[in-house]
Subunit: 188 residues, 2 copies
DNA sequence: ACCTGAACACCGTTCAAGT
DNA sequence: ACCTGAACACCGTTCAAGT
């Protein structure tokens, strides 16, 4: 009689860093960051929590770093066509979308130290402007300003910060676009 | 013989919400948000952790809300003199300073839902611009843009997001001021 | 190499009890 | 009214053991 792999091994894919990060993101998106625990993550992967440590030796720290890398790394395209203003507008819209759909990860973007994702994003934004003929110093300032704006404004949006009276609702799409125009208009 | 209050009652002030928030802020500033636990907070206050629940019935949730309220509520002054541009510049510098000195609270500002502190701050910024003769709609957009920028840029600064090459250090003071000018310049 | 099971030192919070 | 002590249901992580 031929040896059979265990029941588990049959009906599930082998564990991998990618599958772990994806499952974690699903928990965060669906239930919130506070409910992401190693034990629950193990359950979702049909594995004991301790098995995760074999793929992420630095444990939960490494898991959270992985979530940030997965969500916050969105360079402004290699060389999309169009005026630099339009390229930046396109990037900002995409980036805001990512942060919104994975809103639970936002606090991590703000918490983790020096994530490579943010460094790469800033560099990418500067490059877009450099190619657009913007002076080096201006581009450096504008890159941080723009990324800061997108992250900060999205944070306000996620929190649902109302207008003062709380009586009228905010049109966040329009608000974001108008603020984005304000920032791009100020680049010089 | 006169009854003496207990040793503890003699050498410590009675517990109060203010004292609790202050002690918590000290732990966060000194050791980081991750080390703020009810038990450690109790130790710092020379009290059992459970005593805190008498003053904050909603427990740790209420404690964290209190920290955000304490750090993020900085209205742009009742009616400081000067051009609206200068008033906003002054507010932004103060606000950035608060967020930097209590950097551990930043993730909470981004996490807690609809904190009254942020709503009040936005309203205050709009009022400054309204008094400066800025149109209502423009002021509404600019208020969210400015607050978003200050929060987001400070988050980048706290994380120490480097320049792409990582070879040259960023002058964050200059960077922040230049970005602030960019935003204010775009208000119209 | 990859995963499990038991164990350790912590958490937040409840509840009854003390003063 | 204000605080304590014990207890409960969780955490992240280690470590030896299994296959």
């Amino acid at each position: 009689m031929v040896r059979q792999p265990s029941i588990n091994a049959q009906h599930r894919a082998p564990l991998s860093t990618e599958r772990i990060i994806e499952a974690a993101l699903q928990i965060v998106d669906g239930q919130g960051l506070g409910r992401l625990t190693m034990r629950r993550l193990g359950d979702a992967l049909e594995v004991e929590a301790m098995a995760i440590y074999h793929h992420l030796p630095r444990g939960k720290e490494q898991l959270l770093d992985g979530l940030v890398a997965h969500v916050a790394a969105a360079p402004a395209g290699e060389s999309p066509p169009g005026r630099w203003q339009d390229v930046l507008r396109g990037w900002a819209g995409d980036y805001r979308g990512r942060l919104m759909t994975h809103a639970g990860v936002l606090p991590l973007v703000v918490t983790r130290r020096n994530p490579a994702a943010l460094t790469a994003t800033v560099a990418s934004l500067r490059e877009v402007m450099r190619r657009g003929g913007i002076a080096e110093d201006t581009a450096a300032v504008a890159a941080h300003t723009l990324l800061g704006y997108v992250i900060g404004h999205t944070a306000l949006e996620v929190r649902g910060t109302n207008e003062d009276g709380a009586d009228r609702a905010v049109n966040w799409d329009a608000r974001f676009t108008a603020g984005l125009d304000l920032v791009i208009r100020g680049v010089r």
